[in-house]
Point group: C2
Amino acid sequence: MPDPVPSPAEAAEATPSFSPLYQQIKVLITRSLQGGEWKPGEAIPSEIELAARFKVSQGTVRKAIDELSAENLLVRRQGKGTFVATHAEQNVQYRFLRLQPDSGGASNTPAGMQRRLLDCRRMRAPAEVSRALDLKTGDSAVQVRRLLLAAGTPVVLDDIWLPAPQFKGLTLDKLVSYRGPMYGLFEREFGVRMIRAEEKIRAVAATNEEAELLAVSPGAPLLSVERLAFTYDDKPVEFRRGLYDTTRHHYRNVLS
Amino acid sequence: MPDPVPSPAEAAEATPSFSPLYQQIKVLITRSLQGGEWKPGEAIPSEIELAARFKVSQGTVRKAIDELSAENLLVRRQGKGTFVATHAEQNVQYRFLRLQPDSGGASNTPAGMQRRLLDCRRMRAPAEVSRALDLKTGDSAVQVRRLLLAAGTPVVLDDIWLPAPQFKGLTLDKLVSYRGPMYGLFEREFGVRMIRAEEKIRAVAATNEEAELLAVSPGAPLLSVERLAFTYDDKPVEFRRGLYDTTRHHYRNVLS
DNA sequence: TAGTGGTCTAGACCACATC
DNA sequence: ATGTGGTCTAGACCACTAA
């Protein structure tokens, strides 16, 4: 009906140039996600309930949820409800890994990869890491090093850095014994949910150490993939450098 | 038209399934785009007109256009209308190029790159190209070779293959003299619009020839980017292999 | 059968661009 | 002032899921 700016407060101020209602609802829902009101895997209230709660029409809630689900924060399931996206119990093992076997006519996802955890230690964050994760110089970080193998041969060497305070109980044991994606562990044990990531990709020559770990010749060309992953609020919480052996695999990207 | 997007149906059996109205409208609009009823850069009829034409409500047309514009086929401009996306007269020079200067605090797009066209010839399509472009063995293809330079030094070596029949009048002269993105030329002169692309990325060692053209040492690691670009109907119309020198640049990708 | 998301409609009003 | 896309509403009905 006629309702110039109903309840969602915040009005009565210096025209922040206007924000649609559904955008405000989006922010409110995101806050509830971030605050843990609804946990990963759980269902959020139905559209009708949310509409009543926020005092808007169902259509407005719907548009907000539409966008959140397009951003992979929520997952809609017809007839069942709308659920908080989760990394655990997810059919995709590696959420952000774009590597694929060259001739894999079968699946388009690197399913059958085994992982071998090499190391997990605390240290002062190197300058590069510190900059990427927005830490103070001297802050402590957790470093994890691991291999991914396809059919027994190493394909990916990952070096992963995490801010130590947020990952206090993380040990090599936990990493080894946990079944399922690493991001699932982060989510369950540390309440850290990766939402979005950016990668910088380069071609580099393998150092002697890298060559040995990946079972290639020193100097062999490798794909260097630097990934910065973000939680809510675009806060960076993981920096990762992967070295990919692309002789039998490739990094797949779709441009649209 | 029951069948377009939805699910892993595939059953040889009847899948009358059900197709939402707005999906059908989407198909109709796409056909008009493909058939050239509205040309790149032009405005399509207003939502109200289209609603009348298709005998549905404005909201239904709206949802169809929403998705088409999310797929970059259309561009909405509030107050002005909805326009057919175009590669020409576009602010982005290189639609699909994800390469960025490492420290480019200024722009996040490789704006100031110059191009140097090296070659343009007809030939029988190599097997790999023939397979990618879905040609018959022995079919003719146009090959274009060019360099992209940043600040005078070569950074990208592109080898581009196109199906000869669709690009009959393409000459080196045309390529050299055309101002603006190559895809703009393809669109204006040959009526071929690139919609979507897939890339396979690898790290390779530079051959002697490649090293000379890119002014790097033989064997230097380079990023190999194989791109397959599609028009409407997911028909492949361009195969391209780019070699990127990533010493001062990187390939940027966002994962969500 | 009841509850959820998914579609479709019709109408009102707002924001933006143009004349 | 007019026309365009953008937002918001209210209600009806459809499709899917589960008890």
